[in-house]
């Protein structure tokens, strides 16, 4: 992987949360086209690391550089452990809001929701959807934007086997198309996924 496709350089990251050392001396160089699986026992700081990479959590030591043009958040799709959507609203309303925030005004949420397996549930308030369906609603964004970097926290949680397969192929396609995927899960996507171990 040549250096100019290097998207992320993290050097000697260390994070302490509530008096516990989560991780220390963590370095990571990620290039376009790669898919990173972040593994580690519960409480090892996987979610915290994702939030550090997404710029949501800034109390860490060490250096972190995104080699992306302009505001790195323009190229970032972050789906955290929470759905990121208001339960009172329908997937359509939520996605329209999220698209507008990311300047994707022309992106059509209908096909994306269909690919995420929510055909027929597009305008049902999230409160009436199952946990798996709620997860699919937030994962519908994988088919919406053209953000280069995806940071996903447990994307396969509460998703059935069929859903796992579709998401898996989507992640692989995105990496193959020159994107970068960083996700936490115990489920490996394809053979050449790179693993980042956290924990003691």
């Amino acid at each position: 992987m040549s250096s100019e496709t290097c998207l992320l350089q993290a050097h000697n990251l260390a994070c302490e949360r509530d008096d516990r050392q989560l991780f220390r001396g963590l370095s990571l160089t990620a290039h376009a086209g790669e898919c990173w699986q972040i593994v580690g026992p519960n409480g090892a700081g996987k979610t915290t690391l994702l939030r550090v990479l997404a710029g949501l959590f800034t109390h860490y030591d060490g250096e972190l550089h995104w080699h992306l043009s302009g505001d790195f958040r323009e190229h970032l799709l972050f789906i955290g452990d929470r759905p990121g959507m208001r339960a009172e609203l329908t997937p359509l309303e939520n996605l329209n809001w999220l698209n507008a925030l990311h300047g994707l005004d022309d992106a059509d949420p209908w096909p994306a929701l269909a690919s995420a397996g929510l055909r027929g549930f597009e305008d049902v308030p999230l409160t009436q959807l199952s946990a798996g369906q709620k997860r699919r609603a937030s994962l519908a964004r994988l088919w919406l934007g053209e953000q280069k970097v995806w940071i996903l926290d447990e994307p396969f949680a509460a998703v059935d086997a069929a859903g796992v397969a579709t998401i898996e192929t989507r992640l692989a396609d995105h990496a193959a198309a020159g994107g970068l995927v960083l996700y936490t899960s115990h489920h490996a996507v394809g053979s050449e996924v790179r693993r980042l171990e956290l924990g003691p």
Partner: protein
Amino acid sequence: MTGFAPTLARELRLGLCARAEIINPLFFFLMVVTLFPLGLDPEPDLLRRIGPGVVWVAALLAVMLSLDQLFRRDYESGALEQLLVAPVALYFPVLARLLGHWLLTGLPLVVLSPVLGGLFALPAAVLDELALSLLLGTPILTVVGAIGAALTTGLGRGGMLLALLVLPLYVPVLIFGAGVVGRSLAGYDVDAVFALLGALLALAVSLGPLAVAAGLRISSGD
């Protein structure tokens, strides 16, 4: 692409489907105001003197209580996280959020205030000044209260803490707001006080959302 319009649209939609959030502050406002004549003495001269102050304190408490849950569901659902990760200056979505919330809670108080003014035997001439003072004042209360709400979002039950943080910040607004009607009842000219309220409003609208944005970042772990 400032995120203002979509957030305002979303906020109004959210507000309308959670109708209780609109009605509760209104009922609270009505009830608190009716307590005073019961607790004191319904004699018109007394009511006229305490009227503006009572209406203003009730409005102030109603706005503050409606703010306690302002960002909580956004925080718990992760929507707040998405707002922080979006490539957008937080000022605009926050301003839209506050405007939406004010339209659903502050404005109804303004519309209702002449009725309550009547309960306190306030002369008709003063009622429009009361309404105007609330029209200028309630947005300030919303913005300043939102700073406290942003800071207590991450905490479980912010209620009492929010009051402790925000009530001292409400004092100048209360003094000038209630003072307007008091002064005009006493026959003085009140343009200067309206100007002061307007100045506070300008300060709140311009700097407030920045403080709210900073508060939201801090509450979500920044």
